[in-house]
């Protein structure tokens, strides 16, 4: 029987538009775009030029300081464009798929017979290293550092989250191979956290991992919360974190011998007509699943990811690297709501007691619903932040960039996503995730 940890603080936002557990087939697109910006902590160096021919699994770019960390093309085809932004920052690498699906063969391997170095090399050369993130700093793991432990979250608790149970059906062997591979990469433990509702036996009865059951509202599924409850990160320590979907993706490279960047993606959100699960490669253009499948006549917000931590994309945007969910909600910029401060409208949702709490699902749009203010209300963040950390004090020290205070208050233990709920409930409408992301990046620059 797994250990059980009960999370009391948190918030399950009752959002309309959960995806039904139906597989709706595979989505492909002519062009695939890979965005180096998706990978925090990575300084991209191009490995291809326009007009180069690539196979699925050929490196498109690599990390400047760690050239062994490559990022590969999910399809075979031709590099047609390298889109750049300000200061020649690489925005997108566009590959035109030739439709042949020609994969580079890395060779099937049995994890049990490999040394830790061979395991690491196999993941790196297949371009799947990005799946492993590290704390501190919440960046793509630095390959030559030894992690104290590796933490894997086996469920997603965020609003409208995809069901890992459903997605991992049929990927049981890959998941186990991935866990076995990770176990070779640390002298410590691989911790796998599952939800009290998890049913998939591959998660419940996984071997080579310490299984803990978490019970409670979001952010119980956030790996940072799980680390904080299991074995918090101390100054000077490094832990690696992943989600179970990415573990299975790593497992695939050993079982199939190819870099298969296929994801099963939940299409969710109040504005989607036919919700369900689609298979697609990372970087696939999403317009085909939106076409005729969204509410007409109002302005919409398309999100790759969930409504708390996802990225805003255009209608013809692509599936971003870490996401297994695509969400469409109303944008709300065409709404003029009078006297919101006096409103009793049942359409307005608040986690606090200043609005009536109804037992229903809400259709929320992307409006801020207020102007930015200084932090005024107290004990607001704490209620949705189930870690042994004072969130408000940590944010204030991060804004002031007081490194000593940040360290003392636990900056090494957190990632921007841990502050997503704080940002949602924040009366002062501050951009908390951005504050933490900037703080972590600046801190890393300072320390390295």
């Amino acid at each position: 029987m797994a250990n059980r940890i009960k999370i009391k603080k948190g918030l399950q936002i009752p959002l309309l538009g959960e995806s039904e557990l139906t597989a709706r087939g595979t989505v492909t697109s002519e062009f695939v775009r890979i965005c180096p910006e998706d990978y925090p902590g990575v300084a991209p160096k191009l490995a291809v030029k326009v007009d180069d021919t690539v196979k699925a699994g050929s490196p498109l770019f690599y990390e400047k300081k760690h050239p062994e960390m490559v990022f590969v093309s999910p399809v075979s085809g031709v590099v047609t464009e390298i889109e750049r932004g300000e200061r020649r920052r690489i925005l997108n690498i566009v590959v035109k798929a030739d439709g042949t699906e020609e994969y580079i063969d890395f060779g099937k391997k049995s994890v049990a017979s490999l040394s830790p170095e061979e395991v690491k090399k196999a993941i790196l050369e297949a371009g799947l290293w990005f799946a492993i993130r590290q704390r501190p700093y919440d960046i793509v793991a630095v390959p030559n550092k030894q992690p104290r432990d590796i933490f894997v979250t086996g469920f997603d608790s965020s609003p409208l989250a995809p069901s890992y149970d459903f997605i991992l059906e049929g990927q049981e062997a890959d998941l186990q191979a991935g866990l076995d591979a990770l176990a070779k990469l640390t002298a410590g433990n691989v911790y796998l956290s599952i939800s009290s509702k998890t049913t998939n036996p591959a998660l419940r009865q996984a071997k080579n991992a310490v299984i803990t059951e978490f019970d409670g509202p979001h952010p119980a599924g956030n790996v940072g919360v799980q680390v904080n409850h299991l074995k918090p990160v101390n100054r000077g320590e490094v832990v690696w974190t992943l989600n179970a979907l990415n573990v299975a993706m790593i497992g695939r490279v050993f079982n199939k011998g190819v870099a298969d960047l296929t994801r099963t993606v939940a299409l969710t959100g109040s504005e989607i007509k036919e919700k369900g699960y689609y298979n697609m490669l990372i970087g696939t253009e999403l317009s085909s699943i939106f076409e005729g499948n969204v509410t007409e006549g109002i302005s919409l917000r398309y999100i790759s990811g969930n409504p708390l931590t996802g990225r805003k994309i255009e209608k013809n945007g692509v599936l971003r690297a870490y996401d297994a969910q695509v969400t469409v909600i109303p944008e709300g910029d065409d709404v003029h709501e009078a006297f919101g401060w006096a409103s009793f409208s049942p359409k307005r949702y608040s986690a606090g007691g200043t609005y009536l709490q109804l037992k229903k699902k809400y259709r929320l749009d992307a409006r801020m619903l207020g102007g930015p203010r200084a932090i005024i209300v107290s004990n607001e963040y704490d209620k949705v932040f189930p870690m042994d950390i004072f969130p408000e004090q940590l944010i204030k020290s991060t804004l002031a960039f007081n490194i000593e205070k940040m360290e003392q208050l636990g900056i090494y233990e957190v990632a921007p996503e841990d502050f997503a709920l704080c940002e949602f409930v924040d009366t002062s409408k501050l951009e908390l995730q951005r504050i933490i992301r900037t703080g972590l990046d600046m801190l890393r620059k300072e320390m390295e």
């Binding site: 101390n234 100054r235 007691g353 801020m368 203010r373 005024i376 004072f390 208050l409 409930v425 951005r434």
Partner: protein, 406 residues
């Protein structure tokens, strides 16, 4: 509403960068966001937001204050007509109170909000809503006969020097409304205490003229006790302004002389219920103020040397600004402790000090104001120790992790 929206959209360009009324941009923005929820959508981070904003929070506090405000207005009239010995209907009394109160409210808001709007414009920020609450609190904690110019001066002083120089709403160390009162208390003591200021005996805008009856005395109950010669509380009775004895129910419902907002414990309880139910005010702070007060009262009762020390607990809680301070002043999130453990300590000492000042310093029979201001200063220190415990725990964890590795 649609016509209004169209009108706002039409005049909006004048207030934008480069428009001829750009110097009024913050003012325009304040009015626009008052009328319509801004339709700005999120640019980074979460895509959805909670419907609660700063305006909603402040408006809840204002609503919570309204029962105390209404009862207070009625009581101003009641005390007045009692003082001049005339019969009057409930509506006459209420009207008198309204007329006495309204100019003070207007002065407080005009001066305070005027400064806030100007400074917000200079800083190119949105106008923060904090003064919506402070502006109504100020007349509620002042004697009814405070001259308007004094309110104007004190409000200006307190908004500028207690709030804006610290960075505005959210950054102030001391409660703005209480600084206003403290400023007046120390600058014009004769207008802020004694037995001449709590009841308006003259007419207001020609309403309610008359001569004061012979038996009139305008001292507040606490003032009476502070100056009493009685050796213990049982020899003492509280008197109303015409010499009648005051019952517990008079004190509970607020038919006694005193600052307008503070007299009715009943109305304050209504406000407290709203604040607690909506989660806007911290029940921990409120409860701990009463706990701290109770501890101090039990001790002073045990070692009673005079009538003030001997006063039973329920009188302490019903009289003066104790309940009002506990519910509406101590819970100000900006000047209170911000940690939950800290709130218990912060509230407890407010209660304790308020009773101590009341009992041991009869020169200031109203200790609540000073106790809260004093603890405002200590709130960051309390938080420091609460947070420091977390920091120490983290450092200890590093130490154990190190020894385990060696």
């Amino acid at each position: 509403m649609k016509a209004l929206r169209n009108y706002l959209d039409k005049i909006k360009p004048n207030f934008e960068e480069g428009g001829k009324l750009h110097w009024l941009h913050s003012t325009y923005d304040a009015f626009e966001t008052f009328l319509f929820v801004p339709n700005i959508t999120s640019r980074s981070g979460v895509h959805i937001h909670d419907a609660r904003d700063s305006k909603r929070t402040m408006i809840i506090v204002v609503i919570a204050l309204i029962p105390a405000l209404l009862v207070g207005m009625y009581n101003v009239g009641l005390q007045h007509y009692m003082a001049i010995g005339q019969q009057a209907s409930i509506w006459d009394m209420f009207l008198f109170g309204l007329l006495a109160m309204l100019p003070q409210l207007v002065v407080s808001y005009v001066v305070g909000l005027g400064i806030e709007f100007a400074i917000a414009q200079a800083r190119k920020e949105e106008v923060a809503e904090g003064f919506l609450v402070s502006g109504i609190l100020i007349p509620m904690i002042l004697p009814v006969d405070t001259p308007l110019w004094m309110i104007a001066v004190a409000t200006a002083f307190s908004v500028i020097f207690a709030k804006e120089v610290f960075g505005g709403t959210g950054y102030n160390v001391f409660n703005v409304a209480l600084i206003t009162r403290a400023f007046l208390f120390f600058s014009y003591p004769s207008k802020m205490s004694g037995d001449q200021v709590w009841v308006r005996t003259s007419d207001t805008f020609g309403v309610g003229g008359g001569n004061v009856v012979d038996s009139y005395s305008g001292a507040t109950p606490l003032g009476q006790l502070a100056t009493s010669e009685a050796a213990n509380f049982s020899e003492f009775t509280f008197q109303g302004i015409t010499g009648q004895s005051l019952s517990i129910s008079d004190m509970f419902f607020g038919f006694i002389p005193g600052s307008m907002g503070e007299v009715s414990t009943f109305a304050i309880i209504l406000g407290a219920i709203l604040l607690i139910a909506t989660g806007v005010g911290s029940w921990k702070t409120m409860l701990s103020v009463f706990l701290g007060g109770a501890v101090a009262i039990v001790i002073t009762n045990l070692f009673a040397q005079n009538a003030l020390m001997d006063m039973p607990m329920h009188y302490h809680f019903l009289l003066g600004g104790f309940a009002f301070g506990a519910v509406f002043m101590a819970t100000d999130p900006v000047t209170s402790s911000r940690t939950e453990k800290g709130k218990w300590i912060y509230g407890f000492f407010i209660g304790l000090l308020a009773v101590a000042i009341r009992v041991f310093n009869p020169g200031y029979p109203e200790g609540m104001m000073l106790a809260i201001l004093f603890m405002n200063a200590f709130a960051p220190l309390i938080d420091f120790y609460v947070v420091d415990a977390n920091i120490k725990r983290r450092l200890k964890r590093v130490a154990t992790a190190k020894t385990a590795n060696e």
